[in-house]
């Protein structure tokens, strides 16, 4: 990754440390800018319905309608929670160019998953590894962005596997409201409408619960957080 070195003859060690420091500094600035931008435009706010915003290990599983979903959730988390959270994201998206390769892994600290079928990336191993290091995660169990009129696509098995492998971790349903109206697919200008991120009561895989039953229950818990559509 590293950019062109400004002092080619300087000591390599000092240079590496300096570059690392500068990159971290830049990552913090970019992160704060994203938060301020999200707040100024969409007045994004958290609604903690089922849990408190306390530093506990959690997997926030959310609906996915737009590329802005993850930055919105990330922006509303309090600093102590934001520092330990790692979004699980697609490598093909975040490694597409140099800017994304900086923002994804360094600003958001993403766990990157290679989605190409020919590469067996063992995504679950990476996720479990991140959990065992103590990180909380943000995941989108629908797998892809939902472009349909249904509130949610069927969930992939990943959430169930995480819940089974690390039963102590809270699985927190997280509904991001209004992003489809703010930035529908194919539009260029985002509308400054109010975005709300609602955190529901955590769920766990129960003993003997089948994969399909659990995924249905998780999906229902998430849809239940969606605001009633009265328009």
């Amino acid at each position: 990754m590293g950019g062109a070195c400004p002092f080619p003859n300087a000591l390599p060690f000092a240079n590496v440390t300096l570059m690392k420091f500068l990159r971290q500094f830049a990552a913090r600035i970019v992160g704060q800018s994203i938060r301020i931008f999200a707040r100024a435009i969409t007045a994004v706010r958290a609604d903690w319905q089922g849990i408190e915003p306390v530093p506990k290990q959690r997997v926030y599983f959310a609906n996915h309608t737009s590329n802005a979903d993850m930055p919105m959730i990330w922006s509303v988390l309090p600093p102590a929670l934001r520092r330990t959270v790692r979004p699980v994201a697609a490598a093909d998206y975040w490694l597409k160019n140099k800017l994304r390769a900086f923002v994804g892994p360094e600003v958001f600290n993403c766990v990157l998953i290679d989605r190409r079928p020919e590469v067996d990336d063992k995504p679950m191993d990476k996720i479990i590894e991140a959990l065992d290091e103590g990180a909380s995660l943000i995941i989108f169990p629908e797998g892809n962005r939902n472009m349909t009129d249904d509130p949610l696509l069927p969930f992939k098995a990943g959430l169930y596997n995480m819940g089974l492998a690390r039963p102590d971790v809270d699985l927190v349903p997280t509904w991001v409201a209004n992003l489809t109206a703010i930035m529908p697919k194919g539009e260029v200008i985002p509308l400054p409408l109010i975005c709300t991120v609602t955190f529901g009561e955590p769920i766990h895989v129960q003993e003997g619960e089948s994969k399909d039953d659990f995924l249905k229950r998780a999906s229902d818990a998430l849809v239940a957080l969606a605001p009633e559509d009265r328009t």
Partner: protein
């Protein structure tokens, strides 16, 4: 220091005096509570007083900065109010461009016209041009589903959040003989009589209110509204020295503004009930959103503006 600036400072210090008294009363009540006991009414009261501190500071600073300060403050309030309103209205992807035009073209242009003092244009820009042109932009995308509902609700949002709110700074454009640059003080007069009238209406409504005005809509009572309007008239009389109206004129103007404002917030309550929300947003602690805070000023402003223009210019 000009006499206008002196008057603004005097009003600001008087408001701070009232707020200090309100904060003091709250803190005394809190200190007399049993430890570990939480009184939700007192907590709400204190949060609201804190928000009032912020508002008085913002409006006071804007008034001291003069025209540009007031223009900026209300343009920002319009933006926040429009954002709250359009979050709750009917819309489809076909409206995306017309909504974006509402936010990024109609709103700034309205404030440019008010800033330039083009009263012929800012009086009709939204009711005529936006009203006719934005539905065309939506229609071009060809989605007839709930079309009338979508364009009507968008137009309502623009009228309430942009057109009406912009009539507060538009008061500065009124050329009243012998009043000169003091037109700025009309902004302070309108905001103070309407907001204080609301506060006293709420207080008296809680104390002596019995007869509900609109069941299932709002806890407002006829007794509360009557006391609120009479209080607003008295406050108007007290503040008549900053207006060109004279004592009785100031009482009448304050009474009309306050009355229209109170019924305006009934209309806004009906919209909230229909959409199933308690507040328009969460941006002002203890008060809800900008529309919640400004609803009565929003309804009062254009009428206050036109009555002043009709009788005093």
């Amino acid at each position: 220091m000009s006499s206008t600036t002196e008057d603004i400072l005097l009003l600001a210090f008087a408001s701070f005096g009232i707020l200090i008294a309100m904060t003091f009363v709250g803190e005394v009540l809190r200190a007399r509570e049993e430890p570990g006991f939480n009184n939700p009414v007192l907590d709400t009261y204190m949060t609201r007083v804190q928000s009032w501190w912020g508002m008085v500071a913002f409006v006071g600073a804007a008034l001291l900065l003069g025209r540009p300060g007031i223009m900026t403050l209300f343009a920002f309030a319009s933006f926040a109010a429009l954002r709250e309103f359009l979050t709750l209205t009917a819309k489809a992807q076909a409206d995306h461009l017309s909504l974006a035009l509402g936010f990024f073209v109609v709103l700034p242009l309205q404030y440019v016209f008010v800033g330039l003092g083009w009263d012929g244009l800012y009086a009709i820009f939204i009711p005529v041009y936006a009203f006719l042109l934005l539905p065309i932009v939506s229609a071009l995308r060809g989605n007839p589903d709930r079309f009338l509902m979508r364009v009507a609700e968008t137009q309502w949002a623009l009228m309430i959040a942009v057109f009406c709110v912009s009539h507060v700074p538009a008061l500065m454009n009124l050329e009243i003989a012998g009043y000169g640059d003091r037109a700025l003080l009309l902004v302070a007069f309108l905001v103070m009589v309407v907001q204080l009238g609301d506060l006293l209406e709420y207080f008296f409504g809680r104390k002596i209110g019995k007869t509900r005005i609109a069941h299932g809509l709002s806890p407002k009572t006829w007794e509360g509204v009557l006391c609120g309007v009479v209080s607003a008239m008295l406050i108007g009389a007290l503040l008549n020295w900053i207006t060109p109206f004279g004592v009785f004129g100031a009482m009448a103007m304050a009474g009309v503004a306050s009355l229209v404002g109170m019924f305006g917030s009934l209309v806004v309550a009906a919209i909230k009930r229909d959409r199933g929300v308690k507040d328009w947003s969460h941006l002002i602690p203890g008060q809800g959103g900008f529309v919640d805070q400004l609803d009565s000023v929003i309804f009062a402003a254009p009428i206050f503006y036109h009555l002043t223009k009709f009788f005093y210019t």
